[in-house]
Symmetry: C2
Subunit: 350 residues, 2 copies
DNA sequence: ATGAAAGCGCTAACAT
DNA sequence: ATGTTAGCGCTTTCAT
């Protein structure tokens, strides 16, 4: 018998295949067959087994099953992101979870929070828990850590960024084209002094967006002005400061291109502080909640994080199930959403 | 030997305790001792074992270890929320994860997305994976499903809402006091016609916030006006519509109290559409990103979701580790953040 | 200080 | 159609 106890307290013994078999008067292997829907059990026995399972509130022990199974797949994947609170990663999380669920996989999540120690811990914890695959934003340290796990058969898919050497599938936004489209949008309406505030240049994503900014200028034959470029700016507060510094120049820009979410918000604050939000145009990379409710509504180059998460899950599952084709980069298109801040009339003096 | 293979493809065989033992020339039990930091291994052997483990890139199989262990704890907990993209739940997720990590627990997450089927699936999947505990927002269906798992020893902590019968720990915001404070803030500055837009009344949280609204009126001796109350409003669009209907009344309110995140945003849209954002005051329950950048900045009653997640994790871990005290409700205080929309001067005609 | 044997709950392989 | 045996990688228990 299985002893059970109510209340808030901790575990009691759970029913096993054997317990169910004993109650139903069959061998535990028959129970296993019923539970897994295998053929070769008479309807009558099967019903008796199911009834016994119900009575004992039986739940298959997934981990024991994985341990014994030939392929040893745990049907779980790990998602390691910088911060689950960041809406971009939260949306990736949701897309990934939806696709994973469709494939029968569960999702473990972890936030790195800028700690490389924590990042390594997460990889090791997830590996010890025998996830079949990991979805991560690569950095040089991490790629090295992952190499070890991958030799153990853990499959990896990169998101958001590309690693130095493409040794696995990656799913990224079309950062360069998106940035270029955003900046060209400004140049096309006559702006000639378009400043850029960008994230840490060692981040692949940031570099690509910068190249988009450069390409747009080249395409329009507009020379670049170093004084209008702030790079290696990380976080909202730094964004406010960097944008402010540029706006305060003797020869200020007529438009801003901010290459990341938080930087865009930072720039909005800097513009507000100077009462320039209707004077200086703004295009941001990556959409954010309520961008359309600000005054003026913020024009952005929107990514599709849900889609990134979905595709990452699909690639990962395909790899887990044996796809051995060469690593691919999946580029997810971006969308320019003109809302107002990027379409301000160019002041006569500009 | 352990065969290994590089590349993007799926699993190769992983090294086990036996493999490491074979390479180090000791029994696998000695390896187990070293890996788990148990005493009774000479320094020399221990070093040899560690070297062998490194060479073979050994990772303990956490799931096998759990299976055999006396207490059978998996050191993992499941978080089931409505939607990981919702910033409120995302913040809970982060707080929970931080506390769980400190306790050595991993976190499985799932979004319910308004599907009771999915909710039940998640509970069963997580139970089959032998999570030690679950953190969930209760509803009547779910509480019933959970009862079964709890008899199997899965510990439960409720967040955000209270269940009908308090049969486990719960961590919730001080919804009633928060709502009351928000509404009193309006009444205290002279408003006498304060409308309310609230979520589905069967949700405990929504009901509590409504009671706070009622209490505030009673405390100020202001009679309630049914025509100013829209309840059972779910989601941003419905919020816009409901707020709009009230604003269009012959005898409209001078202030709005919106009892939920998305409803607040909906109300902002309704006010904007009528050019009333500087005429009709607004206080919302639950803070949201960029609320301070809107025009006017939105006054809110802020919750502390990170703290809710943290406390939930701590309660859960305590229960898992044997705390048998009666179920408790942990009430997390809210904070009124006056930003502008709740402090508009009351129009003379109001 | 080290190791051998048993067994956690399950599936695989092989009886009957 | 049903059952028996072995063993996944590990911890427990007991022996040396």
């Amino acid at each position: 018998m299985v002893e059970q106890r109510d209340g808030v307290g901790p575990r009691t013994r759970r029913a096993t295949l054997r317990d169910v078999g004993a109650l139903a008067g069959v061998s535990f292997k028959t129970v296993s067959r019923v539970v897994n829907g295998e053929p070769g059990v008479s309807d009558e026995l099967a019903e008796r087994v199911r009834e016994a399972a119900r009575q004992l509130n039986y739940r298959p022990n997934h981990t024991a099953s994985v341990l014994r199974k030939r392929d040893g797949r745990s049907m779980s994947i790990g998602l390691i992101v910088e911060d689950v609170v960041n809406p971009f990663f939260a949306a990736i999380h949701r897309g990934l979870e939806a696709a994973a669920m469709d494939g029968g996989y569960s999702v473990l999540t972890g936030s790195v929070l800028d700690s490389t120690t924590r990042e390594r811990e997460l990889v090791e914890t997830f590996s010890a828990r025998r996830v079949d695959g990991l979805v991560v934003s690569p950095n040089d340290d991490l790629v090295e850590t992952l190499a070890l796990e991958r030799r153990n058969g853990v499959v990896v898919v990169y998101i958001d960024r590309l690693p130095g050497r493409l040794d696995a599938d990656a799913v990224v936004s079309d950062n360069r084209a998106g940035a270029r489209a955003g900046v060209e949008h400004l140049l096309a309406s006559g702006h000639r002094r378009v400043a850029m505030v960008g994230d840490t240049h060692t981040i692949h994503t940031a570099e690509e967006r910068y190249l988009g900014y450069v390409e747009a200028h080249a395409a329009h034959g507009v020379p670049l002005d170093q004084t209008l470029q702030a790079r290696d700016v990380h976080g909202g507060d730094a964004g406010t400061e960097a944008a402010g510094r540029i706006l305060d120049l003797a020869d200020p820009p007529t438009a801003l291109f901010t290459a990341q979410n938080m930087l865009t918000v930072g720039a909005v604050r800097a513009l507000r502080a100077r009462g320039l939000e209707h004077e200086v145009a703004l295009v941001g990379f990556d959409d954010f909640l309520l961008s359309d409710l600000l005054d003026p509504p913020v024009t952005v180059v929107a990514q599709d994080p849900d889609q990134i998460g979905r595709i990452a899950a699909e690639r990962l599952m395909a790899r887990i199930e044996g796809d051995m084709s060469p690593p691919q980069v999946h580029v997810v298109p971006t969308t320019l959403l003109p809302r107002g801040s990027g379409e301000l009339p160019l002041a006569a003096g500009g």
